[in-house]
Amino acid sequence: MINVQDIRDTARDLLAKGEVRAVIGYRRGSRGMLAEPAFITSPEQADELVWDPTCFHNLSLYLVHDRKFLDHIRKNPGAPVAIIAKGCDARSIVVLLQEHYFKREDVYIIGVSCEGTGVLDERKLAPHLNGAQASNAAFDGDDFVFTTAEGEKRLQAREVMADRCLECRIPFPKEHNAVFGEDKAGRQMEAPFAALTRFEEQGSGERWDFWSHHFDRCIRCFACRSVCPMCYCDECVVDSITFPVTTETTAEDKANRVRWIERSAVRSENITYLMTRAMHLAGRCTDCGECERACPVNVPIRLLNNKMEREAREQFGFEPGASIGGPSLVASFLDSDPGDFIR
């Protein structure tokens, strides 16, 4: 069991000694039990930090924000930023390092092991609480314990854990500067890609019915992109902000402008967006589950990313976020890559 006090002590110490300029972690928010991202810069704030099953956010997104901001004000980072990272989050950081988004010495990784559990899927919790609201959530061995107005509610974590955590192979941040909690590799509760495998048992027709339904539902809020640490492009293919429209711009110019994806949130455009995003994440998505969690209309985005992850693993022996020095999936190849589909 991780004692949150240890995390706080580490954060306080790092800040007091000036070894880091900030600590990105979790604190209790204003919405019931839910934790929210915290950015602390002074040792006194360290006591705000929490660690509980609602710490689902992949905070490495904020390393990207930080980098973008520093670039914007043309400032050198100076001291590193410390960040609290779960297994999947730490793998995201590894991908960012692999892509030279920032340097290893720019970040101080305070790893936290998910040990025997993982994080909560709020959608799974609701039916257990019968409308009650939880004001607190805590880890307790293999259980999650929720505090509600009606008293304490103890649930087996696996009943309400996020799917990705049930399937997680490496619930431990291998890459870290400091780490809390035991490495319980092999504690996996479902086979890797279990949800994907179940889905793929359906025929092509059913798969299309499923996806066309969801492609119709997307409202193109882009939360899935915005919440993803890997979606760091300054200009995404769906934005076309570099096309200046002036009074001189003719209809012809506009017609000839490259627009991959129109603004209308309709099936054809949503497909192009979501498929492209899945491709752009192939070999980079570490299945932190944030896109699917953020989606306000429950588009099962994780399946797309999972599909890419499994293909990468099975066809090319590739594991996202495994090593900083390793090649990236689509910028490398092996002689032995399959080619029998090519005529």
């Binding site: 793929e200 027709g205 299309w208 497909i271 490398s332 190849f333 399959p338």
Partner: protein
């Protein structure tokens, strides 16, 4: 045109300029007969083809998309086609995953000397596309 209009699939063919594009020219000058369903788009190398192009071609109404480049070992940029092989496999798997018919996407290696092969690739592709009918799944809807 006969009363029963024959369905002619529209193929968007991304052709590497160093090989398949020249291969298609050769098929032409050699007067090899093959269906005229393909709209060629010449690219500098298959390695330069973004999966976005494939999605975009389907979005704009292609019934089938072909990617064709230099044989392994012959890429003008040494490794472009190796990279393409990976990327194209991924997009192919993804298309199939969401329920798009696998025969709508195809990849081939056709050298500048293989005019006959190019004609064959197109012929086969068009034949395989015909029974599938028009591609409506990924296509932008028309507004009447």
């Amino acid at each position: 045109m006969s009363e029963q209009q024959v369905y002619e699939p529209r193929v968007v063919a991304f052709l590497c300029k160093w090989c398949s594009s020249a291969g298609s020219d050769l098929a032409g000058v050699s007067r090899i007969q093959y269906p005229a369903n393909a709209t060629p788009i010449t690219v500098p190398c298959t390695g330069a083809i973004s999966p976005m192009y494939i999605m975009s071609a389907f979005n704009k109404g292609a019934d089938g998309v072909l990617v064709s480049g230099c044989h392994i070992g012959d890429c003008h940029y040494i490794e472009g086609n190796y990279l393409a092989r990976r990327k194209m496999q991924l997009i192919m798997e993804l298309l199939e995953f969401i329920g798009v018919e696998p025969n709508r996407f195809r990849m081939s290696w056709v050298s500048a000397a293989e005019g006959a092969k190019f004609a064959q690739v197109i012929t086969d592709f068009v034949n395989d596309l015909k029974p599938l009918g028009p591609q409506e799944k990924l296509k932008k809807a028309e507004h009447s």
